[in-house]
């Protein structure tokens, strides 16, 4: 897919909270006899006063600041998440108010499990590309819950990023093309009113994550006539590091290409924020002229694939904390009870 006019990312911002739960603490509670090796050593969790709204606001503010655009230029904002604080009431309006871009703004929340954020990116590209708005913010952010003792509890992390799309000549990375590849596949879901999601175990692998990520990626490469080696960086959705390495290898991307965008080892899976955070981490180090390959995955299921090209503007759009600065900001939680309280899994 290509928009009628060229669009790109004018500014971006990321957020990861400072708290890290050691997965060893989770192991100790649920496998007291001996811990199996966890996919990640620690995962990020939100502080008691944080949620998708607060994190989205910080990332969005950074994106707006780096883009050098004034609030009235932003005509749309979408927040993609599977852990919105309200089931009914948009997070996007709170973000819009906090940024000072109300009232002439399109604002809504999106849901498509872990690809709700890249969903927002597709919409942003379309609105800007159609000339309907000057700037459109796409945010993917999550603080997703996981059932205590479930496999996902060891990897369910927290964080995400925001991307302000605008005309390509203002951008730090232009959009070459994008596409969505979607089927109805219930590999992972949460019913209305349920506190925690359900998942299909091994079904979440090949028929789900791999099938859609591979198909979307191959279709996009074919559409734009490119090969993996044409790209300096490749970013994928990161449920566990091993999935990323495998999908990259199957497509023909090298370890070096995925390295900068692979944030999961230090913080776990940020769900709708995961692939966007990986993209932000890549933009933190990318050089003018480099091409970036991006493919998200969301259960339900589908993938959004994008190809970007970095412009000369990137060098002066990096002020403020980078993804690595957020990752370096760490406060360890080694007590499972403390973790439960922070996650509001137990309440007074």
């Amino acid at each position: 897919m290509k928009a009628a006019r060229e669009v790109g990312i004018a500014g971006y911002g990321a957020y990861v909270p400072r708290y890290r739960v050691l997965t060893e603490a989770i192991s100790k509670t649920w496998r007291p006899g001996g811990a199996a090796a966890a996919a990640v050593a620690e995962k990020s969790v939100p502080g008691a006063d944080e949620d998708v709204v607060t994190m989205a606001i910080e990332a969005a503010r950074a994106a707006l600041g780096r883009a050098g655009l004034e609030p009235p230029a932003v005509g749309a904002v979408w927040v993609g998440s599977e852990s919105k604080p309200y089931a009914v009431k948009p997070s996007a309006t709170i973000v819009a108010e906090a940024l000072g871009i109300t009232p002439a703004v399109v604002a809504a929340d999106m849901e498509f499990a872990c690809k709700a954020g890249s969903e927002a990116m597709q919409a942003a590209v379309a609105f800007v590309g159609a000339g309907m708005v000057e700037g459109a913010l796409a945010i993917g952010m999550d603080a997703a819950q996981s059932r205590p003792g479930d496999a996902l509890e060891y990897t369910a992390g927290c964080g995400g990023a925001a991307f302000l799309f605008a005309a390509a000549d203002r951008s730090l990375a232009s959009v070459e093309a994008s596409l969505s590849y979607v089927t109805d596949t219930p590999d992972f879901f949460r019913r209305e009113g349920a506190a925690f999601p359900e998942h299909g175990g091994r079904f979440t692998g090949e028929p789900s994550y791999f099938s859609h990520s591979l198909a979307a990626s191959r279709r996009l490469l074919a559409e734009i006539g490119a090969e993996p080696r044409d790209f300096a960086h490749a970013v994928f959705h990161q449920p566990v590091p091993k999935f990323v390495r495998r999908v990259a290898a199957e497509l023909g991307f090298t370890g070096a290409q995925i390295e900068n965008g692979l944030v999961a080892p230090r913080m776990g899976n940020a769900y709708a924020g995961s692939s966007l955070l990986g993209l932000a981490a890549v933009l933190d180090v990318a050089r003018p002229g480099e091409r970036i390959f991006f493919c998200s995955y969301g259960s339900g299921a589908g993938s959004d694939a994008f190809a970007f090209q970095v412009t000369d503007h990137i060098e002066d759009r990096r002020g403020g904390p980078k993804v690595l600065d957020y990752l370096a900001r760490r406060r360890e939680i080694d007590d499972y009870g403390h973790y439960l309280r922070l996650q509001r899994k137990i309440r007074r």
Binding site: R18, G47, A48, D49, E50, D51, V53, T54, I57, E58, P85, Y86, I94, E97, A98, G100, G320, P321, K322, L324, D325, Y326, A328, R329, R331, R347
Partner: protein, 134 residues
């Protein structure tokens, strides 16, 4: 907090929006109907930068109902001059010093009840350290 009152406060709570006096140039927060410095009425909306330093602080032994622990309160001296009451966040009590640089972030101040609405507003945290530029 009553919903209509919270609604009226959102620009102050979300964006730290105070006032700039067009007569004497003073910046004030909280907003008032006249300038506290010169008593004139020429006030314009003005968004404060959010940068400031800790003027005083206190750690409460208990958080009142609806508020999230840990519970650190402070008077923050903003770079434009006003001193405001706000919670500190993302910091441990032993790390706090009077004079330390802080920046505004928007956080959950409280939930009115487990099923009730959420109050978001300003808190302050130590400025995030940036890695040396490579």
């Amino acid at each position: 907090m009553q919903l209509p009152r919270f609604h009226r406060l959102r620009s102050a709570y979300y964006r730290l929006e105070g006032q700039l006096c067009s007569v004497c140039g003073a910046v004030q927060f909280p907003p008032r109907t006249s300038c506290a410095a010169c008593r004139a009425g020429g006030l314009e909306r003005h968004r404060l930068s959010g940068r400031g330093s800790v003027f005083s602080y206190s750690e409460a032994a208990q958080a009142p109902e609806g508020f999230a622990p840990p519970y650190l309160m402070a008077l923050v001296k903003l770079e434009e001059g006003p001193v405001i009451a706000a919670q500190l966040t993302d910091v441990e009590p032993e790390e706090i010093e009077i004079g330390m640089a802080v920046e505004m972030v928007t956080r959950r101040i409280r939930e009115m009840s487990p099923q009730g609405y959420l109050v978001y507003g300003y808190k302050f945290r130590p400025r995030i350290e940036l890695e040396a530029e490579g």
